[in-house]
Amino acid sequence: MSSLLAPKIALARGVGALSRLGGGGATSVPGRVLLRLEPRALALLAERLPQGSVVISATNGKTTTAAMAASILTRAGVPLVHNRAGANMAGGIATTLIGAARPGGALAGELGLFEVDEFWLAQMVLQLQPRAVLLGNLFRDQLDRYGELEAIADRWAAVLADGGRRAELVLNADDPLVADLGRARERVLYFGVEDRALAMSGMAHAADAKHCRRCGAPYTFDVVLLGHLGHYRCAACGQERPRPSVYAREVSLDGVRGARFELCTPAGETPVALALPGLYNVYNALGATALALSLGVGLGEIAEGLQTAQAAFGRAERVALARADRGGGRGGGGGGGERELRILLVKNPAGANEVLRTLALEPGDHDLLVVLNDKVADGRDVSWIWDADFELLAPRVRRLTCAGTRAAELALRFKYAGVERERIALEGDLARALDLAAAGGAQDGGTPTPLYVLPTYTALLALRRLLVARGDTREQFS
C-alpha cells in the first residue's frame, strides 16, 4: 500500500512547494492535493502511527489545549505528529501527516495529536480512528458557518455512537452540551472545576445550553463559572453534571500573567502554576491533563508539562515592539524601553468575555487595539460583538483604536458599552492602527504599559505578518 501512496505523497509535497513559492499557504495545500489523489490518505497514514491518534475539539481552546498536551507528552518522551500550526481541517491534518512521512513508509512520530475543527470532527474520527477524543466545550461561534450549537452537539453524538464508539472520551463535565455525550458510555473521563469562589453572579447574556439536552426543561445552575459552564442539574428529569475525576481546586487568577490551582486526579494531587491566564486556560489544562492520564502519563510529567507550556500563537502571546515602530506617533509617552504587546485572540462571545474578564483583573487603565475582520475564517457575521460583554472593560479604557474590515461597527459597540467617544480612534488600516495605538503608553513617566491587542483570526494572521516584516518577531511556524 505504501508503494502506491508514496508517489502521491511526493507529488503533493511538490505542489505544496510550488504553492509556497507562489505565496500560498503551506499549512493545508499539500494535504488537500493528497486527499484529491487518495481520498483514504488520512486513514492510510494514521494507521502507521505506532501509538495511534488522539483528537481534540471544541469551539474554544483547541489550539492551546493541544499545545499543553504536546508539552506534557513531549516531556514524557512520546514523539508526536501534531498539527501545531492550528490547520485543523482535513487538508491541514493530511499536510501534517505528509510532513511526518519518511521514505519506506514509516512516520517520524509515535502518536498523532490532532486538534480538529468542530465541523470536521465526524470525518476525522471516522478516518483517524482515534484511541481518545477530548471535547472541551461548545460555545456560539461563527453561526454563519456552523449552524446552531445543538445541531453540532447532535452531529457529535452521532459520530461518537458510530465510528467513534471505541474511543475513550475525555469530556468537560461543566459544559452540559459536552458532558451529555458521555451519559450512556463506558470509558469516559470527566474534567471540571471545583471552586465555588469563582462563581459568577449570573449567567452571561450570551450563555447557551440553558436547557436540558434530554428533556428540554431549564437546568438549575448551582454555580456558573464561564459562559454556560458550571454546576447544573435538571429539576425535571434529574440529569446532572457528572462528578469529574480530574478537577481544579483553589484556583487563583493572576490577570494576564497566569493562573494557579491545585490539580486533583485519580493519580494524586499537585499544585500547578500556568504561564497562561484566565479560567479558560485552567479548563484547557484540565482537558490536557485528563487526556494525558488516559494515555498513561504520570502526574509529575503532567504538572511539569503544563507549567512549561507556552502561549500558542496569539493566545496571550507577548511581543516586544521595537522602538523604531513607535516612531511616527511617539511623543505622548516619554517613558523608556520597549512597548510590550499582549495579543489575545477574540473570535466569539464566550472567548471574548474571558479575555475581557482577564484584562479586568489587571490594574490601571488600558490601551487597546481591537481588530475586527469579517472574512470567512473570522465568520462573516459580526453580530457576535453585541453579545460580548465589552461593558466589563469600558470604564477602564484609556485609549481604544479600532481596526479591521468592520472597524466602524466595533467602535460603535464600544461607544454603546459606555466608552467616551473621545477615547475611540478608528483606523481601518492595520499598520497605521498599530502605530497609532502603540504611540505613547507611559503613564506618569514610568514604564510603558502593555498595549493589549484583541484581533479576530484573520486579523491575528495579518498582525503576525506585519510584526514579522518589521522584525518584531520571528515566524513561529514554518
Binding site: 453561526l143 446552531e148 440553558k210 453585541w386 466602524a408 460603535l412
Partner: protein, 278 residues
C-alpha cells in the same frame, strides 16, 4: 402610549437571542437616554401573560430550533391575543429572523411538522430542501405612513417636502411619498417565507437572498407590525431605523427627535452596505 417614555417588551429574551439580539435593545435604550427620553424594558418569558397596553414596542428575536418551537407554542397559548390587541392599538411588533417566522401563519419544518404562528402577518414559511440562505444583505425600504422617515440627521438619502415642523399636525400625519432608504444586515435562515397575496414586503432586495431567495422581496410589514430576516443587531447597522422605531412607537415623527452625534453610526451603516456589495 406614554409620551416621553419608550416602553419596550422583549419576548423570551433568554431563549430568542441567538444572533446577539440585545444589540437592538441597547441601541433603543441608549438613543432614548441620550435624548432624555425614558426607557423601560420588560421581559416576558414562557407562560407569562402580556398586557397589550403596557408597552409601545414588542421585540421578538431569533432562537435555536428547539427554543423557537417552545416559544411558538407559548405565543399561541399565552400571548397571541394580547399581541393582536397591541398591534391594533399601533404598538410596534418587531420580529427578527426566527421571530419574523413566528409572526406569520405557520412554519413547516423539514420533518413535516408545522409550527403555528400568531398570524399578525399573512405569510407562511417552509423549510425547503437546499442550502441555508446566509450572507450580508441590503434592502431598499420605503416607510410611508405614520412615522415616516424624512431628512433625519443620520443615514444617507435626503428627505424632501412634508417634513416642515410648521405644518399642522394633520398634514404631517398624512402619508407622503418618501425617498427609499437602505437597511443593511446579515441573514442566516433555512426557512423560505412566502407572503400572502395582499401582504407587503418590508423592502426590495438590493443584495442578498431575502424572504425566499427568489422573489426579490424581504421581510413583511403590516401597519406597525414588522418582520425581517436581517438578524441580530440590525439597529446598530441602521441607526436611522432605530430612530424610526423610537419615534413611531412614541407616536411622533423621526425628525421630532433631537439629533445625535452619529458619525460612527453612519460609518457602521456604510460599512454594512459595503459588506453586502450594494
Amino acid at each position: 402610549m406614554s409620551a416621553g417614555v419608550l416602553r419596550v417588551c422583549a419576548l423570551y429574551p433568554d431563549l430568542m437571542n441567538i444572533y446577539a439580539d440585545r444589540g437592538n435593545l441597547m441601541m433603543l435604550e441608549r438613543r432614548c437616554g441620550w435624548r432624555g427620553i425614558g426607557f423601560e424594558l420588560a421581559a416576558r418569558g414562557l407562560g407569562e401573560a402580556l398586557e397589550p397596553g403596557a408597552h409601545d414596542l414588542f421585540y421578538l428575536g431569533g432562537g435555536q430550533d428547539r427554543d423557537q418551537r417552545a416559544c411558538a407554542e407559548d405565543l399561541l397559548a399565552t400571548k397571541r391575543d394580547a399581541l393582536h390587541e397591541a398591534a391594533a392599538r399601533g404598538a410596534i411588533v418587531l420580529g427578527i429572523c426566527g421571530g419574523y417566522q413566528l409572526l406569520g401563519r405557520s412554519y413547516e419544518l423539514s420533518d413535516g411538522e408545522t409550527i403555528g404562528g400568531v398570524e399578525l402577518i399573512d405569510a407562511h414559511t417552509v423549510r425547503e430542501p437546499g442550502p441555508r440562505l446566509i450572507g450580508n444583505v441590503a434592502i431598499e425600504v420605503q416607510l410611508d405612513g405614520r412615522g415616516d422617515s424624512s431628512s433625519g440627521s443620520s443615514g444617507g438619502g435626503g428627505g424632501s417636502g412634508g417634513a416642515d415642523p410648521d405644518e399642522d399636525a394633520d398634514a404631517r400625519r398624512r402619508p407622503v411619498p418618501q425617498p427609499p432608504r437602505i437597511l443593511a444586515g446579515f441573514e442566516n435562515h433555512g426557512g423560505r417565507t412566502h407572503l400572502g397575496a395582499g401582504e407587503r414586503a418590508l423592502g426590495r432586495v438590493v443584495r442578498g437572498h431575502g424572504n425566499d431567495g427568489r422573489s426579490g422581496l424581504e421581510g413583511a410589514r403590516r401597519g406597525s407590525v414588522i418582520g425581517t430576516y436581517l438578524h441580530g443587531p440590525l439597529l446598530p447597522k441602521n441607526s436611522w431605523f432605530a430612530d424610526w422605531l423610537i419615534a413611531t412607537a412614541l407616536g411622533i415623527e423621526p425628525w421630532e427627535l433631537a439629533p445625535l452625534e452619529d458619525a460612527l453610526e453612519r460609518r457602521a451603516h456604510e460599512a454594512a452596505i459595503r459588506a453586502a456589495g450594494a
